[in-house]
């Protein structure tokens, strides 16, 4: 019982971190502040994955999102602004119409999610999932796995092609 209460407290802490810092990402005036709030959002989502028993995915989230995509986004912020004017403002436009539409979308989606009787089945998967995920990737999902590797190669070459400085 005590353990259960502690788990709930930790869960709500992760949930509040995720949603709160996502709100900061959306509403902050400064781009740098948005980028660093995104760090906490990714961290909170990794915590939620850990809560769901997806330990491999939690680690992957930390490595790829926090270590890769966030650094890439920070490079994007730094390289597309002059560093001397450190305000890096990002204005919001058409705030109130967008807020109304977004609240409507939220209400509809939340109603659908809560009123559907989801099939809740057969208990949790075994906790250390890494070996099982590896076996699935090498057996059932070998074709998507290879296609994903080719996609990453294409993205690598394409990104380098787009940003290269044309010499002529």
């Amino acid at each position: 019982m005590d353990n259960n209460l502690l788990a709930q407290i930790v869960f709500y802490a992760f949930a509040a971190t995720t949603v709160g810092s996502a709100a900061v990402v959306v509403f902050a005036r400064s781009l740098i502040r948005s980028a660093f709030a995104l760090l906490f959002t990714f961290f909170g989502v990794a915590g939620l994955y850990a809560f769901l028993g997806a330990d491999f995915l939690a680690a992957t989230q930390m490595v790829i999102y926090v270590g890769g995509i966030l650094v890439l986004l920070l490079f994007g912020v730094m390289l597309t602004h002059k560093l001397y004017d450190m305000n890096l403002k990002s204005e919001t436009y058409q705030f109130w119409p967008a807020l109304i539409v977004v609240l409507a979308v939220f209400a509809v989606l939340a109603t659908v999610m809560l009123r559907t009787r989801w099939h809740t089945g057969s208990g949790a998967v075994a906790a250390p999932t890494t070996a099982a995920i590896g076996e699935l990737l090498m057996n059932d999902y070998i074709l998507p796995f290879e296609v994903a590797s080719i996609l990453l190669l294409i993205a690598l070459i394409g990104a380098a092609m787009i940003v290269r400085r044309r010499s002529e």
Binding site: A22, L52, A54, G68, G76, G121, A155, G158
Partner: protein, 101 residues
């Protein structure tokens, strides 16, 4: 007791905030952050259903592929943003109104 609905609501909130960012921002990097929020919300749904509904690992495999595609998307999109900044000296999306490079 924490159930499936808790995760679904968190996912819906993240999705709504993501489309809010896409609607209201004109800075290309900020719009990309909104897209990342949307992808994360979809991932939370996949993992939550994998845990509570199906009871096997297929949802987590899908989430891994979503992460792979998100990484590729971020790399290519930021390359396009840098290229756009070099050509028209701004990352305001309203100014990107021509296809000529």
């Amino acid at each position: 007791m924490i159930g499936l609905n808790h995760y679904l609501i968190i996912s819906v909130a993240l999705f709504s905030l993501g489309i809010m960012a896409v609607f209201t921002r004109k800075n290309a990097v900020n719009v990309l952050m909104g897209v990342e929020l949307i992808l994360n919300s979809a991932n939370i749904n996949l993992v939550a259903f994998s845990r509570y509904s199906s009871g096997n690992l297929d949802g987590q495999i899908f989430a891994i592929f979503v992460i792979v595609v998100a990484a590729a998307e971020a790399a290519v999109a930021l390359a396009i943003v840098l290229s756009m900044y070099r050509i028209i000296k701004t990352v305001n999306l309203d100014r990107a109104n021509t296809l000529k490079g």
